[in-house]
């Protein structure tokens, strides 16, 4: 008699926890919402293109489209780095300090007579250093990523100003302007760079052990650690990647403008996060992707361009951008919640 009872005493965790499990269930929903969203965001982009094409004849021209692409390359590259951090469960505001820092370093090094390639590499190293510091503080110091990178945003931005005494530094060597040149088709080099970086990152995130590990880290850090992953090293690597991408963004800006300036790329922090989230990223970590982010960036760029062509003031553009972000994310969460609520 008693042995039969033994088998039955298993408590039943999941059966009945409607009031306590939504946070956990939302995790599963987040990934599916992410998948839905990265498809959805492409559709949304298409709708935007159609609407603007119908509204103004100046929108759907080769020059204008190339212009959109050229204008989003900077924020696109930064957002790719942001994708890596967010997938890994972190957050990086310091990109908006790294970008001007790298632009200034690039400008100064070129002016000091170094080869453009060398100046580019030094700028990237500067970004990687900031990223390393971010990663060490977050992992070893256990400080919240938001606070850490907010602090480093201020520090790196401040260093950028200090290096140039608050001045704008014109670049004298015109070959440093290579990013804005159009060597292939009618599209400037910085756009090719962005496209290449997006494809490469998409490949890494989807098909490599490293990418797989990042999703595990962002999805459940302790589970990743118990699965034998080096979670601290992985987390640090995401900040290094983000810092490096942001620095590449800074070089794009400096090359485009042929100048280094501490005021460049101020809006990169929030715009890059917005692009990642539009593209299916989750601030809880473990979701998002490079192609989704690229689409998110294009949505933001197309919206700004189209509204400008329609003579909408920049103030209204800001409002429109914010509304689009909220609607797109809210809509996908709603779909995720609806489909995720059923087991």
């Amino acid at each position: 008699m008693t042995t039969e009872i033994h088998k039955s005493a298993a408590p039943d965790h999941d059966d009945l926890a409607p009031s306590s499990s939504p946070a956990r269930a939302s995790h599963a929903a987040a990934l599916r919402a992410g998948a839905v969203q990265s498809l959805g965001i492409a559709g949304f982009l298409l709708v935007l293109v159609l609407v603007f094409s119908a509204s103004t004849p100046r929108f759907l021209t080769g020059d204008n489209l190339a212009g959109i692409l050229a204008s989003v390359a900077f924020i696109g590259v930064v957002a790719l780095g942001q994708t890596v951090v967010i997938v890994g469960g972190g957050f990086d505001l310091s990109v908006a300090g790294v970008a001007p820092l790298s632009a200034v370093v690039f400008a100064q090094q070129v002016n000091d007579g170094r080869a453009v390639v060398v100046a580019l590499l030094l700028a990237l190293v500067a970004g990687a250093i900031v990223g390393t510091v971010n990663g060490l503080i977050v992992t070893k110091g256990g400080i919240n990523p938001l606070i850490t990178t907010l602090g480093m945003l201020s520090v790196s931005g401040g260093v950028a100003f200090t290096l140039v005494d608050g001045q704008s530094v014109p670049i004298e060597n015109f070959s440093a302007g290579f990013m804005a040149e159009t060597d292939l088709l009618w599209v400037p080099n910085q756009v090719w760079l962005f496209a290449l970086a997006a494809l490469a990152l998409a490949f890494v995130l989807r098909f490599t052990v490293y990418g797989r590990s990042l999703y595990a880290l962002g999805g459940n850090k302790e589970a990743a650690r118990l699965a034998g992953m080096r979670t601290d090293a992985l987390a640090i690597s995401t900040y290094v990647a983000s810092g490096t991408f942001a620095a590449l963004g800074g070089v794009i800006l400096a090359s485009q403008l042929l100048a280094g300036d501490g005021n460049l790329g101020k809006d990169a922090a929030l715009l890059s996060v917005a692009a990642v989230v539009l593209g299916g990223g989750s601030l809880l970590g473990g979701a998002g992707g490079a192609l989704g982010t690229a689409a998110g960036v294009l949505v933001l760029g197309t919206l700004a361009n189209g509204l400008t062509l329609m003579h909408v003031s920049t103030f209204y553009q800001q409002i429109a951008t914010g509304v689009v972000l909220l609607v797109a994310v809210g809509f996908s969460q709603l779909r995720g919640a609806v489909s995720g609520g059923v087991r």
Partner: protein
């Protein structure tokens, strides 16, 4: 005692409630009622419909058809707030409270006493104390919630519900985290409330405790009620048969058939600091043997399991695996490399990435093996997942299904699968069937046995006395950080294990 459903004036009546998700019928048309002072147990495996029933009763889910009325008045379907206002309180398994606040503040949270938006600590404590005294339930009101044990937290939750003038308490697995003594105490307190006319619904798997307490047992299976009657009408074996359905036999514990081989795992002289640490513990597991380590909360079993998993850096002592000695592992990575696979007790918190598809979760520990030059091979991944999914009867629609969509038992199978993918020499399973239904529990125990027969050293660390008796060839009992008893053969009984653990 009310043998029939409801007394003269039922407290709660649900009529013809039904719920489907797509083609999947979660709850076939069901009538359900509870009278004042009546206690009803709702039993069933995962997916049997009992959770859907409870969710409809508490307004968390809107039924497709049917009505729920309290004291003769229909409640708004799908409105948890309306249910609450009408006196139905759900006490979930995972309690929701503010850990930083005191007991009194938690109890009085939604109606802090005071004037003009000001409240005083003293008034809150006094109000909570008065309430608890009136109810005959007592927990020191000025203690911070975080410092209470689970059983006291549960009592606070009940006080909170009754303080809102709830007339019906629905408790989900109220004793899952409690010791036998604490559970008995909880049922005694619930009994007192019941004597004052409060209706009680208990959703549970603990047949023994529940049978002693309730007036009526309802068993659900596949969305339909398959049994309803007083406890005297069906014995435990009969109830289990109802829960599992036809064709599932209840086998007794399966012990080792052959004699054990050479020693594979030797834990020597382990000590860890702290009140619930280990004191010079040595354990040995031989090939082909399942060793169960049993201990109550705070006995040190957690430190043992976590130490073997490499989760603790404060372990003094050595580990010998297949003749090779080393200090205790300093990281989970080191443990895996040493040949130990550790299954954490809390699968959702520590084990799984719920958003991952099954195939990804199953291969999480062997990314190196399913890749080349850092590039993953999708076919190798599917092979790993498919092979190990076959080991357990995993119920899933496809290997691409996110783990979070699976039931608790199937999630646990995925977790075990991921741990076995490394072909470990030692498997340390901590609470391997916590929160798992009866059928899955048996399948997991069978799999552990099969693994042991195949030559892996299996160590089951558990606070579930029934589990340790069911699954082990040898039982070690830990109390106050020391091994206080070893049971073999016919001496492996619940009584013996509990006697050693609690002495």
């Amino acid at each position: 005692m009310n043998d029939q459903a409801g007394g003269p004036v039922p407290l709660l009546v649900a009529e013809g409630i039904t719920k489907s998700y797509g083609a999947n019928v979660a709850l076939a048309p069901t009538d359900f009622s509870v009278g004042p002072g009546e206690a009803v147990a709702v039993l069933g495996e995962n997916g049997a419909g009992k959770s859907t029933l409870a969710k409809i009763l508490t307004g968390a889910t809107r039924p497709d058809c049917g009505t729920v009325s309290v004291a003769g008045r229909e409640i708004a379907p799908g409105s948890p707030r309306d249910s609450l206002l009408r006196g139905i309180a759900l006490i979930p398994q995972e309690l929701a409270y503010v850990p930083q606040l005191t007991v009194a503040e938690n109890v009085m949270l939604n109606r802090l006493p005071g004037r003009h938006g000001l409240t005083s600590r003293r008034a809150v404590v006094a109000a909570a104390a008065a309430l608890m005294e009136r109810l005959g339930l007592w927990v020191d009101p000025s203690t911070p919630m975080a410092r209470l044990g689970v059983s006291d937290q549960q009592i606070v939750e009940i006080v909170k519900a009754l303080g809102r003038e709830s007339r019906l308490l629905i408790l989900d697995e109220p004793t899952a985290a409690l010791t036998e003594d604490e559970a008995a105490q909880l049922y005694r307190l619930l009994g007192e409330q019941r004597a004052q006319g409060i209706g009680i619904v208990v959703v549970s798997h603990h047949l023994d405790q529940v049978r002693r307490f309730v007036d009526r047992i309802d068993v659900f299976r596949d969305g339909a009620r398959v049994f309803s009657g007083p406890p005297s009408a069906a014995g435990p074996a009969e109830l289990i048969a109802h829960m599992l359905g036809p064709g599932v036999e209840d086998a007794g514990p399966a012990r080792r058939t052959g004699s054990p081989g050479p020693s594979i795992l030797d834990v020597t002289g382990w000590s860890t600091p702290g009140r619930s640490g280990l004191r010079d513990v040595s354990i040995n597991v031989r090939q082909g043997e399942v060793v169960g380590v049993y201990g109550l909360r705070g006995s040190g079993v957690v430190a043992l399991a976590e130490g073997l998993g490499g989760r603790r850096r404060d372990v003094h002592g050595t580990v010998t695996i297949s003749g090779r000695s080393r200090p205790a592992m300093a990281s989970p990575r080191a443990a895996i490399r040493a040949g130990i696979s550790y299954v954490p007790a809390d699968r959702k918190r520590d084990g799984l990435v719920l958003s991952q598809p099954i195939r990804t979760a199953a291969a999480m520990l062997v990314l190196g093996r399913i890749s080349r030059w850092g590039l993953l091979s999708a076919s190798a991944e599917r092979a790993v997942a498919g092979a190990s999914a076959g080991r357990f009867r995993l119920r899933h629609s496809s290997l691409d299904q996110p783990v979070g969509q699976l039931s608790g038992g199937n999630q646990q199978k995925v977790l075990l699968t991921s741990r076995l993918a490394t072909d470990p020499r030692v498997l340390v399973a901590h609470e391997p069937t916590r929160g798992v239904d009866v059928g899955a529990r048996r399948e997991i125990h069978d799999a552990l046995r099969a693994l042991s027969d195949a030559g892996t050293a299996v160590l089951v660390v558990t606070s579930d006395v029934e589990e340790v008796v069911d699954v082990s060839d040898r039982v070690l009992v830990i109390r106050d950080g020391r091994i206080v008893g070893e049971l073999i053969g016919e001496h492996i009984t619940q009584d013996n294990a509990v006697r050693h653990a609690a002495a």
